[in-house]
């Protein structure tokens, strides 16, 4: 009996010592302890395969450049990047998040690419005590904490992408105030992203006194848009807003040319179509089309593009590389701020402390503007949005990006 008690006591002692050697973790959701030779590990969840694989390519490139600029080291250690394919759907997000969550060394994740993937990845990441910063989720639901109203927010979610509430409203304001449109039609493709964006645009346009004459949808994979365009042509709108992706967006734009009745309708898309190949791949129909999207103009961004060209060749394939760059920097800044060096050379990072540090991000001067995170993880303010106009130069001469003819930030300045 005595021997047993002594054994138990001894075991307990060993355990206590082990915990102490672990470095006094008093974080409520746990700590990551980096042994002296462990790297600083961060994850990326992106669409690396499937039809929007370019989104993943774009984001991973942004993260890589952020790491390069930091010499690929943090806390005096090498930074290790774990990349998982989250596709652009719920299953992909789930799988990628499970893989990330099973690696206890991962501190935080940059991702996902698509809102649909984030919706299923977030519960896993949140339960694992990790955090994710998305460079391109724009669905309003993700930073809405009101579950009864369809909110999906959970602790540990952040994004540097602009909420669709900003972009959809901007499209409506621009159509009405700058283009003088009185009526609008919208097309989405069933994706929560495109549906949400067109809904915000239509609602704002209606509230401003405009007439929303048609709200419809196509399917991903459709190539023939004659049917829906013919239906729209029965009551032609001043503006046709289709915040969808390639290739469906190319088909809508190109085929709208051949539909009698739509000759005077102004075409307007969103950042899903703000892709380097879009004008050339659409042809003449794209001339005069407006695209809303992230607007980046700093000198630092020009330097970024040069580094991109040197590293990967060419220009980034989509519009969220700078957001991914900012996301990686916010994450690494937070890691460096909360890391506690131990005497034995190990480093302890509290998971809640890390979330708090990201939440406390204020006035972060990123490539996409000044970022300040609110309590539900929206770090972008919508000021880094602009309206692009596609001209002949983009279609025929390969000019990219197109000129920004109006920007939210400048309009806000004018109002003041």
């Amino acid at each position: 009996m005595l021997a047993r008690t002594m054994l138990l006591t001894a075991l307990l002692l060993v355990f206590v010592v082990a915990v102490q050697a672990d470095g006094h973790c008093d974080d409520e959701i746990g700590c990551v302890v980096l042994a002296p030779d462990d790297p600083v590990t961060i994850g990326v969840m992106s669409a690396l395969s499937g039809p929007v694989a370019f989104l993943g390519e774009d984001s991973v490139g942004g993260v890589e450049i952020a790491l390069n600029r930091r010499g690929r080291t943090s806390l005096g250690r090498e930074i290790e990047l774990i990349t998982e394919d989250s596709l652009c759907n719920a299953e992909g997000g789930q799988t990628a998040a499970q893989k990330i969550a099973s690696d206890e060394l991962i501190l935080g994740v940059v991702g996902t690419s698509c809102s649909g993937a984030a919706a299923s990845a977030l519960p896993v990441i949140s339960a694992a005590g990790m955090l994710m910063i998305s460079p391109s989720n724009t669905s309003p639901a993700l930073t809405n904490a009101d579950m009864d109203a369809g909110g999906l927010w959970q602790p540990g979610y952040y994004r540097t992408a602009h909420n669709d509430e900003f972009q959809g409203a901007m499209a409506a304001e621009y159509a009405m105030n700058e283009l003088g449109a009185a009526s609008a039609a919208t097309i989405h493709d069933g994706d929560p992203y495109t549906d949400g964006l067109q809904a915000v645009m239509a609602r704002t346009f209606g509230e401003m006194g405009g007439d929303v004459v048609f709200q419809g949808a196509v399917n991903k994979g459709d190539t023939d848009m004659t049917a829906i365009l013919t239906e729209i042509a029965t009551n032609p709108p001043d503006v046709l807003y289709f915040p969808i992706f390639e290739p469906e967006g190319n088909f809508v734009a190109a085929q709208s040319q051949d539909i009698p009745g739509l000759e005077d309708t102004i075409l307007m898309g969103a950042d899903g179509l703000l892709v380097a190949g879009f004008p050339a791949a659409t042809g003449e129909a794209a001339i005069g089309m407006y695209l809303s999207g992230p607007y980046l103009s700093s000198d630092d961004y020009s330097a970024f593009l040069e580094e991109w060209d040197a590293e990967f060749g060419g220009t980034p394939p989509s519009g969220f590389h700078a957001h991914a760059y900012d996301a990686a920097n916010i994450l690494l800044d937070a890691i460096e701020a909360v890391a506690m060096e131990q005497e034995d050379g190990s480093v302890v990072i509290g998971r809640q402390a890390l979330r708090d540090a990201v939440s406390a991000t204020e006035g972060h001067a990123g490539l996409t503007g000044i970022l300040t995170c609110n309590e539900t993880g929206d770090c972008a303010t919508g000021e880094a949005l602009g309206m692009y106009l596609i001209t002949e130069a983009e279609v025929n001469e390969g000019k990219w990006p197109p000129d920004v003819i109006w920007s939210k930030a400048e309009a806000m300045m004018d109002d003041m």
Partner: protein
């Protein structure tokens, strides 16, 4: 089996049925009536409302026929392979992609050099030949590497292999040409319209339709009138007897894949001239599914059936949502165009389980 039939023959939910009817018969009859009634009500409402003009309906019809021609050309590949091997080659959509994606680069260099504008017809023929060659190579390799070793395996094995091969082809081409979207150049002479009285048909659509018909007639002639066609038909009829008659089965099967591949490649270029945008490694997936549907609709294994099924599907997709769903007051009708297409598939199959032109397969063939 016998038991369930006896039980269901006389009663459904306790209600006695007319002699000689099963519960399944009754449900299918009810389904037929409901679907037909919905179509009539929907179409009637739309036409009475008069929202679309006659010209708009015609424009939809022509667009549907052109789109259907593309489906039909791809569907031929499914039907040919099914006719010979009784297997569904689910990678066939990607064979189509292989030709279309590879040729887009040649097409754009033809445009830059001015060849496409100075000799459009010759250039298009060269492009079609090139795409046919690429797709043919992919199809033949597919048969040799993925299907031939499994020819005597249970039937589900090559089916799963086909799905794997489909991914393999897609991501090989992604590796080769990247994940971005490309576009075919627009050809000047295809941009205009062809007018008869007050009816205007875009020349591009006419071009698609005519080239598809020409290719299909060539194929029909090949299968019905040539020696190798006769050998193909004999292999389709009974492989063992064909072997005894001195037919080289392997050669015929490779030839079938080659022909199907060549048609898919040509369809890739025709599609590119008609719908220039959206060329990327994933472009074969949906047309593949649609073409498979078209092949089933027309009666799988039957060549004129695949043509008819493709045209029918294309027209239904173009006209169906506006004609039927709008009349039924369903919002976002166009998003449901696949519902219309597949409802039509169900409708055709409950009236004619073997497809529009299909023959009832004997137990041995099926």
């Amino acid at each position: 089996m016998t038991q369930t039939r006896t039980v269901s023959r006389n009663k459904l939910f306790g209600i006695p049925l007319p002699a000689g009817h099963t519960g399944v018969d009754l449900i299918i009859s009810a389904l037929r009536i409901i679907i037909v009634a919905l179509i009539i009500i929907g179409a009637g409402n739309t036409l009475l409302e008069g929202r679309f003009t006659f010209e708009q309906w015609l424009a939809l019809l022509f667009a549907g026929l052109a789109q259907g021609s593309i489906y039909a050309l791809i569907a031929l590949g499914y039907t040919l392979v099914y006719g010979i091997l009784r297997m569904i080659n689910f990678a066939h959509g990607d064979v189509f992609m292989a030709g279309a994606f590879t040729t887009v680069f040649l097409a754009n260099s033809f445009r830059q050099s001015g060849f496409l504008d100075s000799q459009p017809l010759l250039a298009i023929l060269i492009l079609m030949g090139f795409a046919a060659l690429v797709s043919m190579t992919v199809a033949v390799l597919l048969e040799r590497i993925a299907y031939r070793p499994l020819r005597n395996a249970p039937r589900l094995v090559p089916l799963i292999t086909a799905i794997g091969a489909s991914f393999f082809i897609q991501y090989t081409f992604r590796g080769l040409f990247g994940s971005g979207f490309k576009a075919y150049p627009t050809v000047a002479f295809l941009r205009g319209t062809f007018s008869v009285g007050s009816i205007n048909v875009p020349i591009a659509q006419l071009f698609v339709f005519v080239s598809a018909i020409v290719l299909m007639i060539c194929l029909y002639w090949l299968v019905e009138r040539t020696r190798i066609g006769k050998a193909m038909r004999s292999v389709s009829e009974d492989k063992e007897v064909a072997t005894l008659m001195g037919v080289n089965i392997d050669l015929i099967i490779v030839f079938t894949f080659a022909i199907g591949g060549a048609l898919a490649g040509a369809a890739g270029v025709i599609n590119g001239l008609f719908r220039p945008q959206g060329v990327n490694f994933f472009m074969g997936f949906f047309p593949g599914i649609k073409a498979f549907t078209a092949a089933v609709l027309g009666g799988i294994g039957n060549i004129p059936g695949a043509m008819l099924g493709g045209m029918f599907l294309g027209v239904i997709e173009a006209i169906g949502p506006n004609l039927v769903l709008n009349g039924l007051g369903i919002p976002s009708a166009n998003q449901l165009k696949d519902v219309i297409a597949f409802t039509m598939l169900v409708l055709v199959l409950i009236f004619r389980p073997q497809g529009i032109l299909g023959e009832r397969l004997s137990a041995e063939k099926a």
